[in-house]
Structures are given as C-alpha cells and as structure tokens.
C-alpha cells in the first residue's frame, strides 16, 4: 500500500458522526476473519473498523469500502464488540438481550446472558414460530429470526461497564444484525436501550424511530467515508479529464462560426422545414415536468405555490440548479440504468440470468456525482461486493454459459449503441458485427480467450432447414481478447490514459470512454436528450448500426453536446442543464411521431409527449398522499438462515426503483410478498420489468386497458386515495378552512397546479356537502402496527405458513384502514375526488 492509501485507509476508519454534544458513548469495534465456532475468545490485534453509536441497538452496520470508495464485503464471520457505561438506580432490574446469532452480554467482565449460534436451514419444514407471550403489549415483538434472553440483575446504583459481543456472518449466512439490542427495565417498567439518553424504549414506535434515525446516521457515515476514500482518485480523474478536453478538441473540433445553442440548432432546422417552435409551457407545467425528470416526483404543494409567486425573471434557471443539486437526482435515474445495464437480482435461488444487486453501486455513483467515465470504468472493473450491491454484481449471470459475452453485449449496447445480440450466436445479419468481435470483447472482460459454448451457435438438424445466417465460429472455438470494432471506435487510446499495470478490464474501459472514441460521448448525450425530449437525435438510441444506418437529425448539435460533455469532465448534469434550460424542453409537447420517424421528421418543435414511467407514477402517487410505500422487505428469508447466493435481502423499498421480482416461480403462497406484489402489478402494467434478463432502453409504450384498470381498482391506487391516519390528504381535510381551500390544496398536491375557475367552483360545491360536520372529535388515530413476519424460508413448507400468507394477502387487498377522525360520508367524498384526480390522464402523462 502506498503511504497515501495507508493514510486514506486510516482515515476511513475514523468515525465522523460525533454529535454536537460530543462523541457518542457506545463504542463499537469490528473484528474480521473469525471462525464459525468463535464464542468470545480474546480478540487479537486491532479491530478492522470502529465507530460509535447512541445506544446498544443495531439495525445495520457501516459499509466497508476499498481505496477507491467501492463497497466491499467484510471477511465473514466477524465479531461486533460494543461497550457502554450503565448507571441506574438501585434495585431489581431485568436485562433484555436480543440477537440473531451467537451473542454474549457481560457486565464488568462477567457473563450474564447469551444467545445461541444461528442455524442454517435449507429444508423449509420447520414450525412457524409463535410470537412469545408479551408481558406488555406495547413491547416490540422480537424480530424475525431473532432470539431473546432475559435475565434478572440487581443494580447497586454504581456505574458499570456493559459489553456486548456478537458473531455475524457465521455459516456463510448474511451478516445481518437483525434487531440486536440490549435494554434494561426496572420491574414493571418498559425496557430502555442501554445508552446515556435512555430515550429509546423497546416499544414498537420507539424502536421504529430509533431504526430510522440510525439508518440515516449510518448512511451519512457511509457517505462521508466513501467520499473520503474515493477522493484519493480525484487527481487521477482530473488529469484524465484535462487530457480528454485537449483530445476532444482535436477529435471533434468546433465549427468556425463557434458553437450554437440548442435552440439555435433546432430553430435552424425548423425554419428550413417552414415550421415554428411550439409555444412555451406555463410555470406550473414547467415545474412539474422538470421535477419529474430530475427528482422523479412532482414538486410539493408549497414549492408550486412559491414558484408561482416568485417574480424573479431567472426563476426557472434557479429552479433547474436547485433540482440538479437534489440528491433525488440519483433516484430519478435508477430505473433507466437498471434497464440499460440489465440489473436483475434474484431474491430466491437466482437461476434466470440474474446479476447481483449492483443497483447500490449505480445509486451511490449517481449520488456522489461521479463523472460518467469514472462510473463506467468502475462498472467494468467489477470489483467489490458481488451480492451486497457492489459493481462485482454486474459480473454475475446465473445459469448463463457465456456470462462475459452477455456483459459485453450489455456494455456495447449501453455505451456504444452497438447492438450485438445476434452476434451472441452467429455473425449478425443486419449489423456489422461478427460473433468473434463480441467474444473478443468478452475476452477483455474475462482476461482470457473465450471458448464458444454449444448453445451460442446455430444448429442445423439433419434434413432440417439450414440456418439463414452466416456462422463463422463453432462450439469449442477459441476467441482471443481484443477490442476490434473496426470503424466504430478506435482501438487505441491517447497516451497517458492508462498506467502500465492496467488490467484488460481497465483497458477495455479506457477504450470505451476514450475522448478519441467520440461515439461514447455522442451515445451518452443522445441518451440524455432522448430521456428529456422523448426522442433521440439518433434513433434507436441503443442501436445505431441497424438496417437504416446511422442518421442524425441534428449532427452539429450532437457534436456540440458531446464536446460539452467531455469538456465538462463527463458531467451529465452539465449537459442536462443545457437541455432543461432550452426552449425546446420548455415548450408545449408534441404528439408521438409515427413509428420509425426519419431523421428529417425529427424537428423538435417541442418535446414528445411522454407517459410517466412506472417509477415516476408510483413515487408521484405516494408523494401526493404523503405516505410511505409500506411494502415488505424484499426477502423471503427474513430470518437470515440461507446464504446470500441463494436468498438476498434487498430491504424495504422507499422509492419505486428499489422493487424487484418476487421470483415466485415456485408458485408457493407461503413465498408470496403480498404488498410488494401490488406494486409490481401496477408498475409492470406501466412498462417496468420486475426481471431484466436482457438490456433495453426504451420500454414498451403500448397503452393497455389494464393500465387505467389498475389505477382505478388496484390496491396501490386504492391506498393512495384512502384517507387513513398516515395520509396527508387526511390532514388537509381536517385542517382546511373551507371547501374552496381544500379543493385548492388537493389540486396542488396531486396535479401541481391550482384548479381552473370552473373546476374550483364545481369541486368546491361538491365538497361543501357535509364539510362543516366532517370532524369526529376525540376519535383515536389508528397507528397501523405491522405484525412481525413469522413466515420465512425455514418454515414455508409448513401448512401453517401458507395459511398465514393467504391471510396476509387478504389484509393487503383491504388496503390502509380509514381514519376515524372524519365522518365516513365526507371522508368518502374526499377519497372519491382524490381518486378522480390521480386517475385523470393529466396525472399519468408528463405535462
């Protein structure tokens, strides 16, 4: 390790989350590389990590990163050791220890309680555990697969040292903390987590609030550490970008008359065609459109009101800057790249060309605003964690006998718009690619020659029809690694781009992102243009060499954007800003062009009308209702008793892009995730793919009756319209001064605009019936406590598991319980209006 890297490694272990009151009192250390049978024997040497916590309660651990800021796995099994002082009044107490696997609680070095080692289970035939009897119904049920040990303890009123030891990741299982905690209670009291504030009790609401604040705190800690480590590469990339800026000026020289703006380019073509640009959209429509494009959901009602009242002439530009700086930019782009890169994690025994969940790598790279050449390079290096979200997960392709050919296909389509899918099995008849070119790229990814598998050839049967395609390779043939794409991209890079020790993956990455390979930059900016304007300057955006050949509607504009992209240091946000600020983007939308519109036909008088993506739709619905998605954790083994290569835990989604296939190929009710399924039903109908066996860029746009049907009758939209106690619509209804104010507020929240005069009058009249008597005084709130999941892989083959999940399905269909604080008749009135607002095409289509 170089001295610099040593320093970084040392720094990355520094806890940076010290609160304003000073450092947190619970000190936690991690000790890697133990054995499955470790039971508290002395830990030698130095811990591999340490951090602090507010209490002896753990919901997740900080991530470990490599010297480039890529998340890596800890060496399992590993120990967690946490110590905290405890000083409580004299008297009899009980200590409550909760943990998933082996753990031990010590006071002043004396063992007082233990939990047993975790046991793997593959059979699925266990009994469904009954929740243990609870002395106090307010206590949180113990977590799925967790154990609880309660011991009596007499306090003498003095300060004592509490120590928690726990073994994680034993038996190759997922190293999850579960809901590990140590709490203490005086007789008859609720236990509180051990820590100085004693603010957290072991109740449902308190634990959930602790969980949330810990998730946020640790995620912030992760960000700080990751960015610090990643900054060690900044100099390398800065140098590369300076080189790229010089090179692109040669490779793509600016025209003599200087670069034109987007609008000048577009207006020139429109003028030639005798057409005028579309008129601009109003402020409310602009704010909604631009917000959906940049943060994936509509503006809040407050933002709409403030923006409409803002008199500054440059308020649109100001708002664009604000949105581009918003971390939700990463969320807004996830679905797109998951499709393009065929991210396809399988939560249940993955066998259908599944990848690891490298969604996390993509998300963090977008969140940390990595230059795009850097993102692509790290993706191709496929380092770090493969099953917990690192780029190595991109390299997985379960049950695929030519995984690197599959990845080469994905990369060529994503970053060169070169569609080599046919070349997987034979020379491409309609594209200029031979099978050997694809397998040579695969060789660069694999670092060795590729052998053509039997399935990647075309068989002809005796007497059957002969293949209608050219076959130049046969099963068993060897193809050496090479980057040989003829005219498409140069097969060398400018000197200085790569160190001497570069691996073949790094060479491939450099060849792709090289400034001499102008196709990369053009493909990327065309992708961005197409995403915001609805149609590319080149079509199809991921296949430029098809039968029509390369046709560009505005070649000089494509060059200008590509040059701006490279010169800015491969910053997509820079190009995004140019597009979002253009009059093209801010104009009234045009209808969709006839299929296969020619380059001449793509004039861009305005952006093309778009339906919201499935993710935008779901996130907009829940943003409007102010509700959490409320789905299950995406995991069929919440107990954590199967290894991660068989069962992943993708967590509880907070944004729509985080869903994944429930993979219930087994068709077993006990393996269903009923609430998750309601989201998948809706999103799939709107073009999202729960499984992504192959890469695509443009999702299916067909309008089907099931789309309005699911919005009208489905569980998800039903929950959005339901005025439950966690709905923002409920609060609006309770607090509105009069029907007219309520109508105004509902329109702002759902459609991001005030009602028209006619709508306002009609809907106010509709809501005046029963308005004055709508509130039920003194009615209780329904806190909708979710029961802990007891069904897990270990017991899913027990008949009881099926019965429980069928009950869960019923509960999911029933949706959220309605509030009791509103008179039912009036509540239903508001619900029906909300339903109509979100079922209107105005909600479903981009303004």
């Amino acid at each position: 390790m170089t001295p610099l890297l040593t320093l970084i490694a040392a720094l990355s272990a520094v806890p940076l989350q010290a609160s304003s009151e000073g450092s947190l009192p619970v000190r936690v250390t991690i000790w890697e590389g133990l054995t499955d049978t470790w039971k508290g024997e002395p830990l030698d040497g130095t811990p591999s990590d340490w951090f602090e916590a507010p209490a002896l309660g753990f919901v997740q651990l900080p991530k470990k990163v490599n010297e480039r800021g890529i998340e890596i796995d800890r060496k399992s099994p590993f120990a967690l050791k946490a110590t905290a002082p405890l000083r409580i009044p004299r008297g009899r107490h009980e200590l409550v220890l909760r943990a998933k696997g082996w753990s031990r609680l010590l006071i002043d070095g004396e063992v007082v309680a233990e939990t047993k080692p975790i046991s793997a289970n593959s059979s699925g035939h266990e009994e469904v555990p009954e929740p243990p009897p609870m002395t106090d119904p307010r206590r949180r049920e113990i977590g799925s697969g967790d154990q609880e040990t309660i011991v009596a303890w007499e306090s003498d009123g003095e300060e004592h040292r509490v120590e928690l030891l726990a073994l994680l990741g034993a038996r190759k299982l997922r190293p999850e903390t579960g809901e590990m905690s140590v709490s203490v209670a005086a007789t008859g009291e609720l236990p509180t987590l051990i820590g100085p504030s004693r603010a957290w009790t072991l109740t449902d609401t308190s634990w959930r609030s602790y969980e949330k604040s810990e998730q946020a705190r640790i995620s912030q800690m992760d960000t700080t550490r990751r960015r610090l480590a990643a900054s060690s590469q900044d100099f390398f990339w800065k140098t590369r970008h300076e080189l790229a800026a010089r090179e692109i000026a040669k490779a793509l020289p600016a025209k003599d008359d200087g670069p034109k703006t987007i609008d000048e380019h577009v207006r020139d073509r429109l003028r030639e065609a005798g057409r005028a640009p579309n008129p601009p959209i109003d402020d409310a429509a602009f704010l909604r459109r631009m917000s959906l494009d940049t943060i994936g959901c509509p503006p809040t009602a407050e933002e709409v009101a403030a923006f409409l009242a803002d008199a500054r002439p440059d308020k649109r530009a100001q708002m664009i800057d604000k949105r581009l700086a918003d971390p939700r930019w990463a969320d807004a782009w996830m679905g797109y790249w998951q499709d393009v890169l065929a991210e396809n994690p399988g939560i249940l025994k993955p066998t259908l060309n599944n990848t690891g969940p490298f969604r996390r790598f993509l998300f963090l790279a977008l969140l940390d605003e990595w230059p795009f050449d850097r993102l692509v390079t790290e993706l191709i290096r496929m380092d770090g964690s493969s099953l917990y979200g690192g780029p190595a997960g991109f390299g997985l392709a379960t049950q695929n006998d030519a995984p690197m050919a599959a990845k080469a296909h994905v990369l060529a389509k994503a970053f060169l718009a070169a569609d080599m899918k046919c070349a997987r099995c034979h020379d491409a008849p309609a594209h200029p690619f031979d099978q050997s070119q694809l397998f040579a790229l695969a060789g660069l990814l694999d670092g060795k020659a590729q052998v053509i598998p039997a399935t990647s050839t075309v068989n002809s049967q005796a007497g059957g029809r002969q293949p209608a395609v050219s076959v130049s390779l046969h099963a068993g043939d060897k193809v050496p690694p090479a980057f040989d794409l003829a005219d498409l991209a140069p097969s060398d890079t400018p000197s200085g781009m790569l160190g001497n020790a570069a691996s073949s993956r790094e060479r491939l990455a450099a060849l792709l992102v090289s400034p001499r390979n102008t196709r990369f930059a053009k493909v990327l900016v065309n992708r961005l243009w197409s995403r915001f304007i609805g149609l590319g300057l080149v079509e199809p955006v991921d296949d430029w060499d098809g039968q029509e050949g390369l046709t560009v509607s505005h070649p000089a504009l494509l060059d200008d954007l590509a040059r701006a992209f490279v010169t800015s240091g491969y910053d997509l946000k820079h190009v995004a800003r140019l597009i979002l600020a253009s009059q093209v983007y801010q104009a009234e939308a045009v209808g969709p062009p006839p299929a296969g519109a020619s380059a001449e036909g793509r004039l861009f008088a305005g952006p093309v009308r778009r339906r919201l993506t499935a993710e935008q739709l779901v996130d907009s619905l829940f943003a409007a209702a102010g509700k959490e998605l409320g789905s299950e954790r995406l995991c069929v083994d919440p107990e954590g008793r199967r290894p991660p290569n068989e069962m992943l835990d993708l967590g509880e989604p907070t944004r729509a892009w985080q869903f994944a296939s429930t993979a219930n190929e087994r068709d077993r009710p006990a393996l269903s995730l009923p609430i998750t399924q309601t989201f998948i039903d809706l999103m799939q109908t709107f073009g999202w793919r729960p499984a992504r066996q192959d890469p695509i860029t443009v999702r299916e746009q067909t309008t089907t009756p099931l789309q309005p049907a699911l919005l009208a009758n489905g569980v998800v939209a039903g929950r959005v319209a339901r005025l439950s106690d966690d709905s923002a619509f409920t609060e609006l209804t309770l607090s509105a001064k009069n029907p007219s104010a309520l109508v105004h507020a509902l329109f702002l929240r759902t459609l991001s605009r005030p009602p028209s005069a006619g709508e306002w009058a009609r809907m106010s009249s509709y809501l005046s019936d029963g308005f004055d008597d709508r509130v039920v005084l003194g009615a209780p709130m329904d806190l909708n406590r979710k029961p802990m999941r007891r069904v897990s892989w270990s017991n899913h083959l027990h008949p009881r598991a099926t019965e429980i999940q069928l009950e869960e399905e019923k509960a999911a269909r029933a949706g959220d319980p309605p509030t009791k604080r509103l008179q039912p008749a009036f509540r239903e009135r508001v619900e029906d209006l909300v339903w109509a607002l979100v079922n209107s095409p105005e909600f479903v289509y981009m303004p």
Binding site: P350, A406, A709, V715, L797, D832
Partner: protein
C-alpha cells in the same frame, strides 16, 4: 395475418448482409403438417415437480425408505394394459379421453425457477432476449376468442416465466390468486359501492373532459382515455360474470371438488366466454405443506394432492364433454420436472428431469394412447422421448398454430419452438 413465411424482403436483406449464407431457408410452413382444431387451452400446472412414479407412470412398490418405487398401489385404466396411481381412479376411468406423455425430459439445472421457465418458454435463458410463455404465444397467435375478455388468464402467482417476454404487455396475462378474489385490477375494491363508483366516474369525466379539451388531437392521451373505457368493459359482466361460480348448479360445483377444482370450473367458464388460454396453478400447499415438491414429509400427504387433482381433472373432463367443449378445448397437465423412484432421508423424493410425465386431453387430438416408455424405475427413457419443445409444438399444433412459425424481435427471427416437432400420431 401471418403465414409463417419469411418474406422475400427479409430474405434479400439476409442474403445481402451475409455472403456466406449457408443456403436458402425453405419456408417453415412447408413442414407444418399436423394442424389441430382446438380453440382454447386449459393448462393445469403442478408446480413443484409432480412425481411421475406416484401419478401417471407407476412402477413396482417402494417402501418409503430404502427400496425405491411407487408410494401407492396402481389401478387399471380405460386404456387397456396401462395403469396409474390408485388415487387417480376417476381419471383412470377417463383415460380414453387423454394422452399420457411419459417421456418428457430436459437438462436444465435441477432448480424450480429454471425448470419452470423451461416448461413455460421452452428455452433456457440467454441474457439477450426474454422469451415469451406458451400462454403469451397463444395469445399472440390466436387472440381472444370472445369480445370484452382477455386472451390469457393465469390463476396463480405472476412471474416472468408466465409472461409475454419480448412480445410485450399486450400479450401478458390477467391473473388472480384464488377464485374468491377475482382478477387484480378489474375487481373494484369492496368498500366502493355502486353509488361511489358512479360518483367517481362522474368526477373523473369532469376532470378528464377538461384535460382532453385542452389537448385536442393528442393521440396518447386519447388512447389512455379510450383504454379506460375498455377497462370498464373488461370489468363488465361478460368477463367478470365468469367469476360468479355460485351461478353454477350445486352438483356441477361439487363434481369438481376443492379449491383446485373450483379453479378448473372457473377456467371452463372463461373458455365459454372466449378466453383463449388459461393457466391454472395447483398450488394448494396448505394440504401437505410442500405442494408437489414432495421432499421429506411432504410425501406423507401427497395423496391428498393427487386426489384433488383426480377430482378436478375428472370433473373438468366430464363437464367439458357434457357441454360439448372437450373436442375444441385442449387440456394440458404439466409440471417442471419429475421425481426419482428413490426416497430421501426424510421419506420424500428429490428432483428428476431425465424423465417425467405430462398429460393432454380433448382438443380434437387422437386420444386414448400413451406416448413413450420409461425403465423399471421411471428414470431412463426407453422409447419415444418427447422434448419440451416437442410438447409445446404439440400444443401449438393442436391449436392450429404452426410451431415452426417465426416471431420477430428487433430484427431477429425467433421460432415459436426450438426445433419442436408435434407428436405426429396425435393428429389426423
């Protein structure tokens, strides 16, 4: 619309692009000999891998421990010389209306998801495209037979294997997980009364009308509004009426048996309304815990599953015959793989894909025969192997669809089956 032929323009393109063309492709239509007359298909899915040796391909008795073999006695059937498991007694009496296929086989990994995918799409996953299911292909080729009904319905859990793949959402399924719920998206929530539904529609019409007026001539928005009206049609009595099983006479309902039988009855009602393909999952796992995946103690109450299948399948065949629908309705029983004659340490059975059984019934086929022979343990194929593509090709041919027809995705031709050949003796 299609003829199954590669058109001339395509051929010219191919020839121009590939100077090394290995020879002109004869039109696949030429090899499309058997053409059946079935108009609909009910595809019964025994998820988990039904043990052929305990159902349709019985051998000598085993002891549930060391000695491999059948777990049950076997009984004679309406096909002379052929036996099936004693718990399939009612189906046995009706086997002259069926074809037993005892030599299905494939080599995908011994894993449910991959094998389920194989039995639905006929192909291993490639990573370059997502293949459509047999149901989606039939929906694509034949469309719905009736007005205001979908072409393809699944009674079971949604998954990619059952999906339309590259054919697109239009050829996907409408699904429900049990007969009591109705299909997702078309069943109005229970708390929304008819009065509220009317009020909602009126409010929506108000908002939508104003929006449409502001966007005259925008085809996407007009399409969406039209789809909304089509959805209302689907949610109307023609299709949704099928789900009112209580309209059936009590003795008909009783003849189908339990929940799986009721699903089969629902499938029949859907066929009557013009649904083209219905997949019915037999996933009543609360009967024995494991469903058909009878490892360990899942074996102990496997007979209850078999009896339920027996009642449902016999009931379906009788009812279809009674209504004169059997000749034009192909009934298929399929599963992802079979199970070995040996028992595992818990007294159940593992997986076996070297040989397993499927069943075809009705559909205008030549019935009352057994295709293929396996060895003494039902492990090795002795005669007449039937590949999964062959099985699918038989289904396509029975429904009058050319199994060699090529679909197209992004310029790439994809035949309906991967060299599948219909079982010829069932036709003509």
């Amino acid at each position: 619309m299609n003829t199954g032929e590669i058109n001339r323009r395509d051929l010219l393109k191919l020839a121009a692009a590939s100077p090394l063309l290995l020879g002109a492709a004869p039109t696949p239509a030429a090899s499309f000999a058997p053409r059946g007359t079935a108009e609909a298909c009910i595809f019964l899915w025994l998820g988990g891998g039904a043990a052929q040796i305990d159902t349709f391909d019985p051998k000598g008795r085993g002891d549930g421990k060391k000695r491999p073999g059948c777990y049950y006695e076997s009984v004679t059937t309406a096909i002379p010389g052929e036996k099936v498991c004693e718990h399939l007694g009612r189906v046995a009496d009706r086997l002259d209306r069926c074809v037993l296929v005892r030599t299905l086989h494939h080599s995908v990994v011994d894993e449910h998801a991959a094998a389920t995918n194989m039995l639905h799409t006929g192909r291993a996953v490639s990573g370059t495209i997502t293949y459509p299911s047999v149901g989606s292909i039939i929906a694509h080729e034949r469309g719905a037979a009736g007005e205001a009904v979908p072409a393809y319905v699944v009674i079971g859990y949604p998954n990619v294997s059952r999906g339309p793949g590259f054919l697109g959402a239009k050829y996907g399924y409408v699904y429900l997980t049990d007969t009591a719920t109705g299909p997702s998206g078309l069943t109005p929530p229970i708390d929304v009364s008819a009065v509220r539904r009317a009020r909602r529609e009126a409010l929506l019409e108000d908002l939508r009308g104003e929006f449409l007026a502001q966007h005259p001539g925008d085809p996407l928005i007009a399409d969406f509004a039209a789809a909304g009206r089509e959805a209302a049609r689907l949610a109307g009595p023609t299709f949704m009426g099928a789900f009112s099983l209580d309209q059936e006479p009590a003795e008909v309902r009783a003849s189908y048996g339990g929940e799986f039988g009721q699903r089969c009855l629902l499938a029949r009602r859907l066929v009557e309304r013009g649904v083209r393909f219905i997949e019915v999952s037999h996933n009543l796992n609360f009967l024995n815990g494991t469903g058909w995946d009878t490892h360990n103690n899942g074996q102990l109450r496997q007979h209850e599953l078999i009896q339920e299948l027996d009642a449902a399948l016999a009931g379906l065949l009788d009812d279809l015959s009674r209504l004169r629908l059997l000749d034009r309705t192909l009934v298929v029983v399929a599963t992802e793989f079979g199970r070995p004659a040996e028992f595992d340490s818990g007294g159940g059975r593992g997986h076996q894909s070297t040989a397993f059984s499927g069943l075809l019934a009705g559909g205008g086929l030549r019935l009352g025969r057994v295709v293929g022979v396996t060895d003494d343990l039902g492990k090795t194929i002795v005669d007449r192997p039937v590949s999964v593509p062959d099985f699918h090709a038989t289904i396509y041919a029975a429904l009058g669809t050319n199994p060699a027809k090529e679909l197209e995705t992004g310029g790439r031709p994809v035949p309906l089956t991967d060299h599948g050949k219909p079982i010829s003796e069932l036709f003509g």
